[in-house]
C-alpha cells in the first residue's frame, strides 16, 4: 500500500546502512566490509617472513567512524511519562536521527544528596526509531474502507483540512458548538502542542472530555482528605526518610530514570518497604515486601492505625492541630456539630471540645493555629439554639471504636493476608521513624482506591509524617503555567498577557471574601479553576461515557457495584445532576452525540476500559466525522475518517513540563524536517482555523454563537488563536513559553530563550502562580529536596476542605449512607462477574502509554507480543505451561494471550500490562473485559472538596484492578 509507506526512509528488511548507500553515494561508509580492503599479498609475505610487523590499530577506524555526526541538538520526549523531563543529545547524520543519549546535565539539590544523572530511560534512548517506524503517519490520510479496516487514500493537506473544516462548520450549524468534541487529549503531543490544542478548542467553543478522568490518574482519597491531590516531593526526599513505603507503583517499569533514588537511599540507610500484591519488579530494591491480597490495602493501613492508637504511639499534638479528628460529631445523626445549629452561624463552622475551658470551641477556619486543648475522646452534651440537647463526640473517638472493632491486626490478616506481626512491626516503624509514602497511579484504578488512600493518609497523619523533610506522600505535582498561560492569554507576555488573569483572580478573591472573610488564597484559585473548567468546556468523562459511549449498559449492573450503595450508578448520576452539583459540566448533553470527534494524544481503544468494544459499537456509529492529529497509527487512529500527520519530537521545537519528581525543564529542538508531510501542531490548527474561515465565508456564514450566548466571527479565529498574529509556529510558541515561565517564577528571573538554548535544561525554580503552587504548599527551593504541605504544618494555613483540615470524617449524606464517613476497608465488588482470578494491570516496561507499543526495537527487548503473568502453581493446576496461549474471559468478554510464568505473582492473580488492541487476535484487547466501573458516590457534590475542576474529581472511569476473570488453556495451544 503506497499511501502511507515510507518513501524517504528504509523499508522493513532494509537496514539504514543499505538505505544510505542507495540514497547518497557519497555518504559516510558504515559497513565493515567497505573498509576492509583485504590484505595485500606482498605485505603478508613480509610479515610471515618476520621482516614486517602488523599494526593492529589501523582497522580500528572502522568503528571510530561510527562515532561521527553531522549535527548534535537537544531533545526530549515531553510529557508522555512522568518525569518526562530528561534531556538528550540527539545525533543527526544525513538528515536522519541515528541515536540519542542522555545529556546528563542535572545537579544534586545540594552535596548531601544524589544528582539526577543521567536521567533518561530505554524509551528515550530508542525514540528515534519511532520516527521511522512502520506505524508513523507521514501523509494526510482519508479513510476509504470501513472504519477500522485500514484502507486509506493519501490526500493533500488542502483536501484534508477542507474536509475537516466543512465537518466542523456542519456541526456548528446543526448541533451547536458542543457537538464538536475533543476526546481526552493527553499531553503526549508536547507542551506547545497541548497549548495549541486548548487554544484551538477554545476558539471554536468545543467540548473537551477530561483525559485525567478517563485514565484515572486521579486520587479521590487524597482529594477527600487533603482537598487536593497535586502534592509531591523530589525523590531525594528519600534520603531524609528513615522508612519509605511505596505502594501502587512499580518504578522499575514506570520511572526507571528515578529508580536509583530508591536504591541509593537504601544504601544510605533508609529502609524500603513495598506494599503490593505481587513481588513486582521493584521489590528487589526493597527490604520488605508486604504482600497484600489484591484490593485489601485499606485493611493493612487501618490495622496499622489501630496499632498506633492502641499503643499510644500516635502524635496527638499533630492530629489535634492539623486534622479533623478532634472535631465534634453528633452521636445520633453522625453529622458534625455546626454553628448553624448552635448559634445560628455558618453551616461550615465546626467545633472542638476544649478541655482547658471545659466547653465547646469553634475550630478556627482561617488558620490551623489555636490555643485550645481539644478532647480526642469522650462524649459531651451540647445545648442547641432551639434548646434541644445533643450528644457529641470527637471524630477520633469514633475512629478508635471502629478500628478496635474491625481492624485489629489479626482481623486485617484475615482480610489482607499480611501476618499480624508484620502489621504491628510496620506500625511501630511508621510511628517512630521519619516515613514517607509514595502512592503510584494504581490506587486510582481501584474501585475503592479512595478508601485505600484515605487509610494510608490516616496512618501518615497519626504518625505526624506530613509536611517536613523525609515525610509526606507523593502523588504528582507540577506547575503547568506554561501550557495554561499559552493556552489562555489574549496577548503575549510582552504586551501584558498575564494581566487579565491576575485581575480576574483579584476580583474573584474580593467576591469570595464578601461571602466568607476567612476564604484562603488556595480556595480562591480552586474556585478560579472550577469556573475556567466550565468556561472551557471541560467535561468529566463519566458523563461522556455514560451518555454517549454506551457505558450505561455496563455500569447500571447493580450486582457489580458496592452492595452498600442503595441506588444504581445512573440513579446516583441523575440525583447529583438534579441537585445542581454538575451544572455546566455535562457536555455534550445526553441525546446529542457529537457530530465531529477529534483525537490528539489519546488512544481510547487502548486506554479506556472496555473502550475497544464500546467505542466502535456504541459511539463511532453516531458520529459523522472522526479525525485525529497523530504521529502514529494507533488502534484508535485506525477508526478515524481523516488522519492529519503531526511532527514528532526532534521534528519541531518544544519543551518539557517539570514534575517535582524530576525538577527540570528541557528544551526540544528541531533536529530534522518532519517525515513525509507531517506538520507541527501549532501550524495544523492555524491552517485549519483559516480554512474554516474561508469555508464559512463561502457558505455565507459569518459567525457562530457559543454556549454562553456570545457571538464569534469565524474570520477572527486565526487572529485570536495566534495571540494577535504573534505566535504562528512552534518556535515562536517556545519563546513565549520561556517568557511565561520567567514571568511565573518557574524559570530563574532574567532567564532567556538564548540561555535555554545554551543550557538545554533548567532547574525548576518555582511552582508558578496558579492553584498548583498552593497544592504543594511549600516554596520550591532548588537547593533543597522538596516536600509538600509545609505551609499547613508550619505556617498553619488551612487545607482546602470542608473542615479546613486534613479531613478523615466526611459527613456527606452519601458517604454516611454507604458507611464511608470514616476510612474503611471494602472488598472489590464482583465487576465483570464471579471468576477465580483477579486481573491487575499497569504500564509496561517498554512503552509510555501506547506510544512505543508498536516500536520494533523496543518490542525486540521481550517476547514482542502481549503476555499474561501467572503464578507457576496456578498455571500448573490448569495444565498450562510457559509460552502457551490461554483464553481469559468473564461476563463481559474474552481475549487470547500468551502466558509467562512467574514465581513472584500472587496466587489467583494474573497481570497483564497493557498493549494495543491490534496486538490481540481479532483486536480483542484485554481491556475489553475490564468494564471501568466507577464508584458512583464520587458524583457527590455540595461539600467543599467534593468538587470538580479539570483533571480533579468525579467518578473516574478507569477502575480495573481486581476485575475477576477465568483462565483456560486454548485447545490449539501455542500461538
Amino acid at each position: 500500500m503506497a499511501t502511507n509507506e515510507i518513501e524517504t526512509l528504509p523499508k522493513a528488511g532494509t537496514t539504514r546502512r543499505g538505505f544510505l548507500a542507495l540514497g547518497a553515494k557519497s555518504t559516510v561508509a558504515l559497513a565493515l566490509c567497505e573498509l576492509a580492503p583485504g590484505l595485500n599479498a606482498a605485505f603478508v609475505g613480509e610479515v610471515l617472513a618476520g621482516t614486517r610487523a602488523i599494526a593492529y590499530a589501523g582497522w580500528e577506524d572502522i568503528y571510530r567512524k561510527e562515532w561521527q555526526w553531522d549535527k548534535v541538538t537537544w531533545g526530549s520526549h515531553t510529557n508522555a511519562c512522568s518525569p518526562g523531563t530528561c534531556l538528550f543529545h540527539v545525533y543527526t547524520r544525513n538528515g536522519l536521527v541515528w541515536r540519542e543519549e542522555q545529556a546528563a546535565r542535572t545537579k544534586a539539590s545540594n552535596p548531601k544528596y544524589t544528582d539526577y544523572n543521567p536521567l533518561g530511560c530505554q524509551k528515550g534512548c530508542a525514540f528515534h526509531t519511532s520516527l521511522y517506524s512502520g506505524e508513523r503517519v507521514k501523509y494526510p490520510l482519508k479513510r476509504v474502507g470501513e472504519r477500522g479496516e485500514g484502507k486509506w487514500q493519501r490526500i493533500s493537506w488542502d483536501e484534508a483540512l477542507t474536509a475537516v473544516a466543512d465537518a466542523i462548520l456542519d456541526a456548528h450549524q446543526r448541533g451547536g458548538t458542543s457537538s464538536f468534541v475533543l476526546d481526552g487529549p493527553h499531553v503526549h503531543a508536547g507542551n506547545v502542542a497541548s497549548a495549541a490544542t486548548f487554544r484551538f478548542m477554545e476558539s471554536l467553543n468545543g467540548v473537551i472530555t477530561d483525559h485525567n478522568m478517563q485514565i484515572g490518574d486521579t486520587f479521590i482519597g487524597s482529594l477527600i482528605t487533603l482537598g487536593k491531590m497535586q502534592v509531591g516531593y523530589t525523590p531525594d526526599n528519600f534520603f531524609d526518610a528513615q522508612l519509605v513505603v511505596m505502594t501502587h507503583a512499580n518504578w522499575s517499569y514506570t520511572a526507571p530514570a528515578l529508580y536509583h533514588f530508591l536504591t541509593e537511599a537504601r544504601y544510605n540507610g533508609t529502609e524500603i518497604a513495598i506494599l503490593a500484591p505481587d513481588a513486582n519488579t521493584t521489590t528487589h530494591a526493597a527490604d520488605i515486601h508486604i504482600p497484600v491480597k489484591v484490593g485489601t490495602d485499606a485493611a493493612f493501613w487501618l490495622a496499622a492505625c489501630q496499632v498506633m492508637i492502641e499503643t499510644g504511639s500516635f502524635n496527638a499534638g499533630f492530629i489535634s492541630e492539623q486534622t479533623d479528628l478532634p472535631l465534634l460529631v453528633h452521636t445520633k445523626t453522625r453529622r458534625f456539630l455546626r454553628s448553624a445549629e448552635v448559634d445560628g452561624g455558618r453551616e461550615d463552622q465546626l467545633y472542638f471540645y476544649d478541655k482547658k475551658s471545659g466547653r465547646i470551641a469553634s475550630a478556627p477556619r482561617g488558620t490551623l493555629r489555636h490555643d485550645f486543648d481539644p478532647a480526642l475522646d469522650g462524649e459531651y452534651t451540647v445545648t442547641l439554639r432551639d434548646g434541644a440537647k445533643a450528644t457529641v463526640t470527637p471524630v477520633f473517638a469514633l475512629l478508635r471504636r471502629q478500628l478496635d472493632q474491625r481492624y485489629r491486626p489479626e482481623q486485617a490478616q484475615e482480610l489482607s493476608g499480611v501476618h499480624a506481626s508484620v502489621i504491628r512491626d510496620m506500625a511501630a516503624k511508621i510511628a517512630s521513624r521519619r516515613t514517607c509514602a509514595y502512592i503510584g497511579f494504581s490506587s486510582g484504578k481501584h474501585y475503592h482506591g479512595d478508601l485505600m488512600e484515605r487509610s494510608l493518609l490516616l496512618a501518615m497523619a497519626l504518625s505526624g509524617n506530613v509536611g517536613k523533610p523525609g515525610t509526606g506522600i507523593a502523588i504528582w505535582s507540577f506547575p503547568a503555567d506554561g501550557i495554561s498561560m499559552l493556552a489562555g492569554m489574549e496577548r503575549p507576555i510582552a504586551q501584558g498577557g498575564m494581566a487579565a488573569g491576575a485581575e480576574y483572580v483579584q476580583a474573584l478573591a474580593r467576591e469570595l471574601a464578601a461571602e466568607d472573610p476567612e476564604i484562603t488564597e488556595e480556595l480562591v484559585h480552586i474556585e478560579m479553576m472550577k469556573r475556567m473548567s466550565r468556561r472551557l468546556g471541560h467535561s468529566p468523562s463519566a458523563f461522556w461515557f455514560y451518555n454517549h459511549v454506551g457505558y450505561d449498559k455496563l455500569w447500571n449492573r447493580r450486582e457489580w457495584q458496592d452492595p452498600a450503595m442503595p441506588r444504581s450508578f445512573g440513579d446516583y448520576m441523575k440525583e447529583a445532576q438534579a441537585k445542581g452539583w454538575w451544572d455546566g459540566l455535562v457536555l455534550p448533553p445526553p441525546g446529542k452525540p457529537p457530530e465531529v470527534l477529534m483525537y490528539i494524544g489519546n488512544n481510547p481503544l487502548r486506554r479506556v476500559r472496555s473502550g475497544n468494544v464500546q467505542y466502535p459499537t456504541e459511539l463511532f456509529p453516531k458520529v459523522k466525522t472522526i479525525f485525529t492529529v497523530e504521529t502514529r497509527l494507533s488502534s484508535s487512529a485506525m477508526y478515524c475518517d481523516y488522519v492529519l500527520p503531526a511532527a514528532w519530537y526532534y521534528e519541531k521545537q518544544d519543551m518539557t513540563l517539570s514534575m517535582t519528581a524530576s525538577p527540570y525543564i528541557s528544551l526540544i529542538e528541531k533536529a530534522t524536517e518532519p517525515v513525509g508531510e507531517a506538520m507541527e501542531e501549532w501550524r495544523i490548527y492555524g491552517r485549519l482555523l483559516k480554512t474554516i474561515a474561508e469555508r464559512a465565508a463561502e457558505r455565507g456564514v459569518e459567525s457562530f454563537v457559543d454556549r454562553f450566548g456570545q457571538s464569534h466571527r469565524y474570520a477572527d479565529l486565526y487572529h485570536h488563536y495566534t495571540l494577535g498574529g504573534a505566535i504562528e509556529d512552534h518556535d515562536a510558541a517556545v519563546r513565549e513559553m520561556v517568557a511565561v515561565k520567567v514571568a511565573t517564577g518557574i524559570f530563574p528571573r532574567d532567564y532567556s530563550y538564548d540561555q535555554f538554548r545554551r543550557d538545554g535544561t533548567v532547574t525548576l525554580h518555582g511552582m508558578g502562580v496558579t492553584f498548583q503552587k498552593h497544592a504543594v504548599a511549600n516554596e520550591f527551593d532548588p537547593k533543597k529536596p522538596f516536600y509538600s504541605l509545609r505551609w499547613h504544618t508550619e505556617e498553619k494555613v488551612p487545607y482546602p476542605t470542608y473542615a479546613r483540615r486534613m479531613q478523615f470524617y466526611i459527613d456527606h449524606e452519601w458517604f454516611l449512607e454507604v458507611g464511608e464517613e470514616l476510612p474503611v476497608h471494602k472488598g472489590i465488588p464482583p465487576i465483570g462477574g464471579n471468576y477465580p482470578f483477579r486481573i491487575t494491570s499497569g504500564h509496561p516496561r517498554i512503552s509510555i502509554n501506547s506510544v512505543h507499543l508498536a516500536n520494533p526495537q523496543l518490542n525486540r527487548l521481550h517476547r514482542g507480543q502481549p503476555v499474561m503473568f501467572i503464578n507457576d502453581a496456578d498455571a500448573a493446576a490448569l495444565g498450562i505451561a510457559d509460552s502457551e496461549m490461554v483464553r481469559v474471559y468473564n461476563d463481559v468478554g474474552e481475549f487470547e494471550i500468551m502466558v509467562s510464568l512467574q514465581a513472584c505473582v500472587a496466587p489467583k492473580q494474573v497481570i497483564v500490562y497493557y498493549w494495543e488492541p491490534y496486538q490481540f487476535r481479532g483486536w480483542q484487547n484485554f481491556d475489553g473485559v475490564l468494564v471501568g466501573m466507577p464508584k458512583a458516590i464520587h458524583f457527590a457534590g455540595g461539600y467543599e472538596q467534593l468538587r470538580y475542576f479539570y483533571m480533579h474529581g468525579s467518578p473516574h472511569a478507569s477502575v480495573d484492578r481486581g476485575v475477576r476473570v477465568g483462565v483456560e488453556k486454548l485447545s490449539r495451544g501455542v500461538a
Partner: protein
C-alpha cells in the same frame, strides 16, 4: 601492539593497563537501556541485527545467549575446554513486525500485529524471553537482573583460540578486540568463550563483539552502556587507578566479584552481588533471611560472595545507625561522574553548548 608471528599468543594478550567495569546488581532494574544504548551505536549494521553485545536477562533464567552457561569454553585447571557454537535463536533472533499488513492493507481486525522470527516463523524463543520469571515459591519469589557483555578478560580464551591471530588485547587499556580485517570467521573464539559474548556476522562472515566503546574511551567518554545506565549501576575506569571506584570496589573493598570465576578467564567486569527482600516463614512471619539462596549466588560468583554480602550488610548497618560508610558512599555516588574514573567527557555537546557541534 605488534603482532610477532614467530612468537606466542603472549604478546597479543599483554596489556599495560586494564579497564574494568563494576555492575551493581542491587541497582539494576532490568530496564534494558544499556542494551538499547549499545544496539543503536554498534549493531544496526548489516549482519549485526541479532547481536546484543550488551544484554540483560532475569536470574534465575536461561541467560543470554540462551543457556550460555552450558555451552562450554573457558579453562579448567588451565586447560582450554571444548565449547559449542551459538545459534541465531540462542542469540535472541531479530523479530520482524507486520506494520503494513495490520495498518495499511485493509484487513481490519483479521490481521494482528505480531512478531515473526528473522526466518518468518512464529517465535517460541527470543531475546529476554524469560524476562521477570525468576525463582522461588510464593510468597518468597525472587529475581534479579544480570547485565552481561564481553568481559575483556585478562586471560581471554577467544584470543587463544583464534587461528588467524585476529584477536588481541590493546596494550594501552586491555580492551579485547577482533580485527575485522583479519578475522576469517572460523568462530573458534565463539566456542572458546565461556560467556558466549562473541557473535557471528553472517553478512561479513566475521566474528564481532563488544569493543568497550573504544572510540568513546579514547575521547575520555565512558562506554555507552555505562554512561547511559539510568540505574547508575556502573563504575568504570582503570583497575590500577587508586582513585577510581573500580579499583576501590574490586581491589580495596573486594565486594565486586567476577561472574563464574571458575571459567578461568580472569574477566574484567565485576558485580556487586544482589540483596533481596526478607523471606517469610510458613506462618507468614518475616524472617531475617533474604530470599535469594546464597548457594545460588555462589554458583554465579564463587565462594567469595558470602564475604562480599556480609561486608555489604555490615556497612549498610552502619548507615542505618547514622554512622559513615565509605563503601556505601561509593555505591551511592552522589556525584554521578565519580563513577567513571575520569572518563567523564560529554558525548559531543550540542551546537549551543561548549565545544560546538562537530563530527
Amino acid at each position: 601492539m605488534v603482532y610477532a608471528p614467530q612468537g606466542s599468543k603472549r604478546d597479543l594478550v599483554k596489556a599495560k593497563r586494564q579497564l574494568a567495569t563494576v555492575i551493581d546488581l542491587n541497582k539494576c532494574m532490568g530496564c534494558q537501556t544499556c542494551v538499547v544504548a549499545c544496539k543503536n551505536l554498534w549493531t544496526v549494521r548489516d549482519g549485526t541485527d541479532h547481536m546484543r553485545w550488551m544484554n540483560v536477562t532475569t536470574y534465575p533464567g536461561h541467560g543470554y545467549p540462551r543457556d550460555y552457561e552450558h555451552k562450554g569454553g573457558g579453562f579448567r585447571d588451565g586447560e582450554p575446554q571444548p565449547g559449542v557454537l551459538t545459534t541465531m535463536s540462542d542469540c535472541g533472533d531479530h523479530f520482524q513486525f507486520n506494520h503494513d499488513e495490520v495498518l495499511n492493507q485493509g484487513k481490519g481486525n483479521a490481521a494482528r500485529f505480531e512478531p515473526k522470527t528473522a526466518s518468518g516463523e512464529t517465535p517460541s524463543w527470543g531475546y529476554n524471553w524469560d524476562e521477570d520469571r525468576g525463582g522461588g515459591e510464593w510468597p518468597n519469589g525472587y529475581r534479579f537482573y544480570l547485565p552481561r557483555m564481553c568481559y575483556h578478560c585478562s586471560n581471554p580464551p577467544c584470543l587463544q583460540a583464534c587461528p588467524t591471530n585476529a584477536i588481541y588485547k590493546r596494550e594501552e587499556d586491555g580492551i579485547v578486540l577482533i580485527d575485522q580485517e583479519r578475522c576469517r570467521g572460523h568462530r573458534h573464539c565463539v566456542e572458546a568463550c565461556p560467556y558466549k559474548a562473541i557473535y557471528f556476522n553472517p553478512v561479513h562472515e566475521t566474528s564481532e563483539k563488544c569493543i568497550l566503546c573504544f572510540p568513546r574511551v579514547e575521547k575520555k567518554i565512558a562506554p555507552a552502556c555505562n554512561r547511559q545506565c539510568p540505574g547508575r549501576t556502573r563504575a568504570f575506569g582503570y583497575l590500577d587507578d587508586v582513585e577510581s571506584q573500580v579499583h576501590k570496589l574490586v581491589r580495596v573493598w573486594r565486594v565486586a566479584l567476577p561472574l563464574h570465576p571458575e571459567y578461568g578467564t580472569e574477566p574484567n567486569v565485576y558485580y556487586i552481588p544482589p540483596w533481596s527482600p526478607l523471606a517469610y516463614d510458613d506462618e507468614g512471619k518475616l524472617t531475617d533471611q533474604m530470599r535469594i539462596p546464597v548457594s545460588q549466588l555462589e554458583e554465579l560468583f564463587g565462594p567469595a560472595v558470602r564475604q562480599s554480602l556480609e561486608l555489604l550488610g555490615r556497612e549498610r548497618a552502619k548507615k542505618r545507625k547514622g554512622e559513615p560508610s565509605e563503601l556505601m558512599d561509593i555505591l551511592i555516588s552522589r556525584v554521578w561522574e565519580d563513577r567513571f574514573g575520569g572518563f567523564t567527557e560529554a558525548p559531543l555537546e550540542p551546537h549551543a553548548a561548549k565545544g560546538g557541534h562537530k563530527s
